[in-house]
């Protein structure tokens, strides 16, 4: 059973992280590894595409909290796109909309980065 999968690609000089499956305390370390590599490669502009994510727990949300400041300190950010209402509700319960930008689709989130630069 593939319970979680994460892949990265570039879209107009922005790094897109695609999430698939179930993101919990078991699978969150895989996502941490991806963010660590992005920082090592000095890739600070990140859009996380949630289209294929079925589930998230606070262990998954914690990953975004742990890495966002490094991205912002380096003129980047972590922006979210394609989130289902079910997943958005969890982010909303924890107050994430105060500190993170959410976009309906990936293109819009990528454009937002390119507007600024």
């Amino acid at each position: 059973m593939v319970d979680f999968n994460v892949e990265t690609r570039e879209n107009s000089h922005v790094n897109v992280v695609n999430l698939h499956g179930y993101l919990d305390a078991h699978t969150a370390p895989e996502l941490e590894d991806v963010f660590t590599k992005l920082i090592d490669d000095r890739k600070f502009k990140v859009v996380v595409n949630f289209e294929n994510l079925a589930y998230i727990s606070s262990a998954g949300l914690g990953v975004f909290m742990a890495y966002v400041e490094t991205m912002r300190e380096n003129n980047g950010d972590i922006k979210f796109s394609n989130m289902s209402p079910k997943i958005y509700n969890i982010f909303d319960l924890l107050g994430f909309p105060l500190l993170y930008e959410f976009y309906k689709d990936e293109k819009e989130a990528v454009q937002k980065f390119n507007e600024k630069s």
């Binding site: 319970d3 305390a25 078991h26 606070s58 262990a59 969890i90 924890l94 994430f96």
Partner: protein, 143 residues
Amino acid sequence: MKTANNIFEKELVVKSTTDNLALIRDFTKSAAQKCGFTEETIDKIALAVDEACTNVIKHAYKFSPEGDIIVNINVNHSKMTVSITDHGSNFDPSLVPEPDVKKYYRQHKIGGLGIYLMRKLMDEVNFNSVAGSKNQVVLVKYF
């Protein structure tokens, strides 16, 4: 909301490893489905139970894989009660402050989100701890 017309009790005992979280969620969802909860409520209960068990693995057993997590589900005419018991280190949830995402951002702090989520997702969340013996989290959802 359809009222459950069946009364039942189920128990799952698993080792304290994160790869068991999916199994624990499936066990919880299948019981919640039998109660007639909506899909949305079933997802909330499964997430709350995941958060409770994640806390047990991280805090009570400190990632040691040898501990037991006992998930007991009891359904009666009015509610579904999920009790999560462990025999790890004592844990005082009253010491966990309500998270403030802005403050977390400034302090680079993560964690503490699970208990807050559990309280938001369930109707009741109670912690019982017997020093040197067991910790128990009791999650309740009314029909």
